[in-house]
Symmetry: C2
Subunit: 340 residues, 2 copies
């Protein structure tokens, strides 16, 4: 089969690789129906994360089960499935507490590279969720979004404890930030302020439920959010970037007693204990436990209630994956969907 | 009247000072019935916080209202009252959200020095809570505890979102940590692990509801808590110290998806964003909004349900306040109650 390998910053290749195989009895092998490029892939593509050797890439996927190990009971060949970037047994104490992305037996599914024609998924029973039937083509982008960005945006809202009537600010207008707007709306927020300075993303944010857009960043962004909330700050702020500036912006935009949910993978972020203390802001983050939300998110997609697949504004054949990376790197695309 | 003034590290004097007066129409002046020395006073007494000039000290008090300004409606002379260390109007948006210690009009009541015979309390209507009748002498220590340490311990538990059936660890065995044990028990925790290496505090922790005591600190303390929780960590951890080591101990003792409530005033604490991210731990701290909890805590005290006054293991005449500081500094007392 063929798959994507990152050789060095900017050097993405689509090449012949060994077919993935069942290694453990709890594995499944799936044939991808769609995969995509994640904003976090760009950290490596841009050389911010060090790539030390040719590395298979990608961690988002939907597909058809081809083969399962002897120990797999919940999914079977022929089913259309969606899974998270971390495998999870869904039975350990962390999974039972709803933190499947911290499963005691988790593996990073992306380690094998999901921007490929086939993928090995460990702990298939606990990781994969099958749709009732093989879904219509029109649902594929939104179901694919659930495997990471929609699940992550949803977790940002849940970690921030969004509740009906809240005023929300979303820091970050990438695919996760845009999906966080959807999540805030679905969870009943009354006002959703999207922080964005790109026209196409502002438009999509409004379409997803943002009631206002703020182009300012950093302290200027904080000032604007305060002005819009009677000097108080937003009830909950969803941080979807992952650098120190965005984290500070999120914390300082939140009212005392409010919450920040942070899902941008932190890069060189430190927090000052004294500032956090006097802010009275609650804080929770982490890699999203997507598996917790998948059944609900799939329902919302298949019922037409949410359409997070709109974050894909570029679709390419999987063989043109390199063009998908460069389009996102050059901000010509929000997110690239790849079709084998 | 006479009051306490800190001149320099270790130099506490009880001396003649001007009587406090009504300055604003919303003020009250109260005659103290009891006051006390706080663990946070020791930061200054020990020279860790810089004392630049002779400074009136103390911020915990119960007393009888002597005089009120023209704008005060809810309290009247002769009433026995309890208030927090921050004044609050109890009507601003932060107060309405339950964060009275972040009131838009707050003042630090301790600025005038509460280890004194009389105190000016700003925003009396929003700050003070009167008991139904002047309480019996036996309730005074516990009511005094509500003005800070019991309110702060309670907030640690509320900020950590303690719920029935939880396993809790409490880091810090000072008066606040011990009161946090009471709070965890009252909020329904099933297991309460008190981190303490002092026999008298261990004993009081057990009396307050601790089901286990761990003497180890730092990483050893984390290891013990993990061992006691099947390798998983406590559901909620209440941090009642305020240094970097105790904060790390709290965060690392908490299970993924659990919470840390931190109420120890931070001294040189920084948090690593990446560690916090991957921990999945929720975090909220701050100066306790004691006013939010006062009516409920007063009820619990007067009904005999809780007895946080036991944290006072030394009672002195107010004129011997210096001996009260040194006893706490030398760990001969957990907390000193002072009687004018």
């Amino acid at each position: 089969m063929r798959g994507t390998v990152l050789y060095a910053p900017g050097d993405v290749r689509f090449e012949e690789r060994d077919d993935p195989k069942i290694i453990d009895a709890t594995d499944a092998v799936i044939r991808t129906v769609a995969t995509c490029v994640c904003g976090s892939d760009l950290w490596d593509y841009q050389g911010i994360n060090l790539v030390e050797q040719p590395t298979p890439f990608g961690h988002e996927y939907v597909g058809i089960v081809e083969e399962v190990g002897d120990g797999v009971q919940n999914v079977r060949p022929g089913q259309f499935v969606i899974g998270s970037f971390f495998s999870s047994d869904n039975t350990c104490p962390h999974c039972k507490n709803g933190y499947q992305s911290n499963c005691l037996h988790r593996e990073f599914v992306g380690a094998g590279g999901c921007q490929a024609e086939k993928i090995r998924v460990p702990l298939a029973d606990g990781t994969l969720v099958a749709t009732p039937v093989v879904p219509d083509e029109k649902y594929i982008p939104s179901l694919l979004a659930c495997s990471d960005v929609m699940g992550t945006g949803w977790y940002a809202a849940v970690a921030a404890e969004v509740r009906p009537g809240d005023t929300i600010a979303v820091v970050g207008d990438g695919a996760v930030g845009l999906c966080a707007v959807i999540a805030a709306k679905e969870l009943g927020a009354s006002r959703i302020i999207a922080m964005s300075r790109h026209a196409s993303r502002q438009k999509l944010a409004r379409e997803f439920g943002a009631t206002a857009v703020v182009a300012e960043r950093g302290e200027d962004g904080v000032t604007r959010v305060k002005e819009m909330t009677g000097g108080i700050g937003a009830d909950r702020v969803l941080e979807c970037v992952g650098d120190e500036r965005s984290m500070q912006q999120a914390l300082r935009s939140t009212r005392p007693g409010g919450n920040v949910g942070f899902v941008g993978v932190p890069h060189d972020v430190t927090l000052d204990g004294t500032e956090l203390f006097y802010s009275h802001v609650g804080l929770r983050g982490g890699p999203a436990p997507v598996r917790r939300f998948l059944p609900d998110l799939i329902d919302r997609v298949l019922s037409g209630r949410i359409n997070p697949g709109k974050v894909f504004d570029l679709t390419l054949p999987l063989s043109e994956v390199a063009a998908g990376y460069s389009a996102m790197h050059e901000h010509r695309a929000i997110k690239t969907l790849l079709k084998p």
